[in-house]
């Protein structure tokens, strides 16, 4: 395989990515691109980033052998990359630290963020508190209802949470509203985008800040099993935890790469959130990529039991990896994810995020057909404390 070195200078991963925003934001993106290029070449920037990850986040996160679950499935051994053990409880903080350090370099004192599950909002509010910045988080009013513990966490951390009432009132609408804020306050404000999507340089930048996941695994797996895993798997919402795990493995030829989208109520209908599995390319939120859209090019409302995967687009690098066949993308539905959620709780004593439960569900389905000496490495992207109201609600219990 050729040396993999994307995106190109204008932010394209093959046919995907790019910059599709209104003119007012072009200069801000240019400035961000230039400053990130300087930061990227500055060893002091990465030294501080790594220091923060070690002492504030608690990295490296361990890789854990889910022995009882693997035993119960009777096939491949399942290993979990424990991003749930990070400070704030998910992978999102790897990215918000990187972007907040960049915001500080640029002299921006106000940060904004969009959030779906609330994990990115919490991670943004956290770093804003840590670095003394004002923080405003946009969140769809639908998501505010289903992720109320995270809303309160953001408020405790000093952030302002703005409910978004437009469109489907979920993550995509929160992103629209964050963009509108940015366009209005472009001089004072840094937009901390929460996933590996959006206009260039965000997909590249978020990937670079999440790559630490895969880089650690590449060292940890040989220590644990003497080699790299046979499969790496992650859930894909916008794609940040997945690209963080996948990217360092792209040029490791024998490692199979699997991204799992939210199948919602099933791919045969429209109530899902699986653009790579069932969508078509288009332009939304500043980049070209696979989208859930109707024949007229209107963005469809998505559905997933997990708010963090309830997004109609997916980052451009995943679109490219799908097209060139280096990664496979598939979907698991709500019920499968919920089953994996409960199995992980009971067999391993770990309450996983509903998002991560999609990756777990794929592993649980694939493992029995694989040999006992084979290894699936799952990115356990976050912990499920935020989801207990949703889970209880599904069982008819009100907490």
């Amino acid at each position: 395989m050729q040396q993999y070195d994307l995106p190109d200078a204008s932010g394209h991963f093959g046919a995907y990515g790019g910059i599709f925003v209104a003119e007012t934001l072009m200069a801000a993106l240019e400035e961000l691109k230039a400053e990130y290029a300087r930061a990227k070449a500055d060893p002091a920037f990465w030294a501080e980033y790594r220091h923060e990850l070690a002492h504030y986040v608690g990295r490296p996160s361990p890789v854990y052998h889910a022995r009882r679950w693997s035993e119960a499935l009777g096939g491949a051994q399942i290993y979990l990359k424990r991003e749930d053990l990070n400070h704030t409880g998910a992978h999102k903080v790897n990215n918000t630290i990187g972007q907040a350090l960049l915001a500080r370099r640029m002299g921006k004192k106000r940060v904004i963020a969009e959030t779906g599950a609330g994990q990115h909002g919490v991670a943004s509010a956290t770093v804003a508190a840590r670095y003394g910045m004002e923080c405003v988080v946009y969140m769809g009013s639908e998501d505010i209802k289903r992720q109320s513990p995270n809303v309160y966490r953001m408020k405790l951390l000093g952030a302002t949470v703005v409910p978004v009432e437009s469109g489907s009132r979920t993550l995509k609408d929160a992103l629209n509203e964050a963009m509108r804020d940015w366009v209005t306050n472009v001089d004072s404000t840094f937009y901390i985008l929460g996933t590996a999507a959006g206009p260039h340089p965000y997909p590249m930048m978020v990937r670079d800040f999440q790559r630490v996941i895969g880089e650690e695994c590449k060292v940890q797996m040989p220590e644990l099993i003497g080699r790299q895993p046979d499969v790496v798997v992650a859930c894909v919402g916008g794609g940040s935890n997945a690209i963080g795990l996948f990217h360092p493995y792209i040029d490791v030829p024998d490692v199979r790469i699997v991204g799992v989208e939210a199948g919602g109520e099933g791919l045969q209908g429209v109530r899902h959130a699986a653009p790579l599995s069932a969508g078509t390319p288009g332009v939304l939120h500043g980049f070209r990529g696979y989208l859930m859209q109707d024949a007229d090019g209107q963005i469809m409302e998505t559905h997933s039991v997990s708010a963090g995967l309830d997004y109609p687009g997916v980052g451009p690098e995943h679109c490219y990896l799908k097209d060139i066949g280096r990664a496979e993308y598939t979907a698991v539905d709500d019920d499968e994810a919920l089953r994996a959620f409960h199995d992980c709780c009971r067999l391993e004593g770990i309450i996983p995020a509903l998002e991560s439960s999609h990756a777990l569900a794929w592993a649980a389905k694939a493992a029995p057909a694989m040999g006992r000496d084979q290894v699936i490495l799952v990115n356990l992207s976050g912990r499920g404390d935020k989801d207990i109201n949703t889970i209880a609600g599904l069982s008819g219990i009100s907490l």
Binding site: S10, R180, D296, Q298
Partner: protein
């Protein structure tokens, strides 16, 4: 000569008024009527918004207009049909479609450009398609005889202004403020200064819009700009009116704005 160039020629230095409404708002049956109402009031060019589910650059007023139109499932194809119907009675008022890239992608650039030209569209402004990404679309538009309209913002640096000046046809749309459509913090002196500076590298007429809400502001800006674009204020009028009264109320408001900038 394109219908837009002809229009500016005809005005011979007088200022153009460019009202914006969203196609399909408040319902698709009314749009062509409302377009004629705009012309009755004195519209020189019509900007017709193509509804989109995720209007990232628009404020709440135009977002709501998009939502009202999408309740009726108004598609880009239907918007083109509306323009064709409008052209049965009006062959001189230029119509510029303003919207987002994705519905155009979904139709296909080539097919869109050909159908739009056949329906009597004159210019196309895709808000989220900066010149860097516009080659393919612009090529298709120009080949079909349509004018690609570009935005220039207060944040656009001089070298980009020059580049946009080279690509622009019809007119350039100067965004009068940092913000979304309908925002209310426009600084007249600053905008006037900017527009004067743009003249150095832009040869087509310069329209100004985003946040022009009253005749007084329109008059002040028409000192330097060639055209005044008014959107949210008109959409609010539609929002507030009974459907059967909307045409008249629009015409009255447009007339008031037009007389302010003459």
């Amino acid at each position: 000569m394109s219908r837009i160039a002809e229009c500016f020629n005809r005005l011979a230095g007088h200022k153009a008024l460019i009202p914006f409404i969203t196609a399909g708002d408040p319902n698709p049956k009314l749009t062509v009527e409302l377009m004629h109402g705009l012309v009755d009031g004195g519209a020189d060019i019509i900007e017709l918004g193509v509804p989109f589910s995720d209007p990232m650059a628009d404020g709440p007023v135009i977002q709501r207009a998009s939502e009202r139109a999408l309740k009726h499932h108004v598609s880009l194809a239907q918007v083109l049909d509306m323009v064709a119907t409008f052209r049965l009675e009006n062959t001189y008022t230029p119509v510029v479609l303003m919207g987002y890239l994705n519905p155009v992608c979904a139709m296909g650039f080539q097919r869109f450009a050909e159908r739009a030209a056949a329906c009597g569209v004159d210019g196309v402004l895709t808000v989220d398609c900066p010149p860097e990404e516009a080659d393919e679309l612009t090529g298709a538009l120009v080949a079909a005889g349509l004018d690609p309209i570009f935005l220039v913002a207060p944040t656009t640096p001089p070298d980009r202004v020059a580049r946009i000046g080279q690509l622009a046809r019809g007119y350039v749309y100067y965004v009068s403020l940092k913000g979304v459509t309908g925002a209310g913090h426009l600084d007249i002196a600053e905008v006037t200064g900017k527009i004067a500076a743009l003249r150095e590298s832009i040869t087509v007429p310069i329209g100004v819009g985003f946040g022009i809400r009253d005749a007084e502001t329109a008059r002040a800006l028409s000192g330097t700009a060639d055209a005044i674009v008014v959107g949210s204020r008109l959409v609010q009028e539609i929002e507030a009116a009974e459907p059967q009264a909307a045409k008249q109320r629009l015409a009255r408001l447009v007339a008031e704005l037009k007389s302010a900038i003459r």
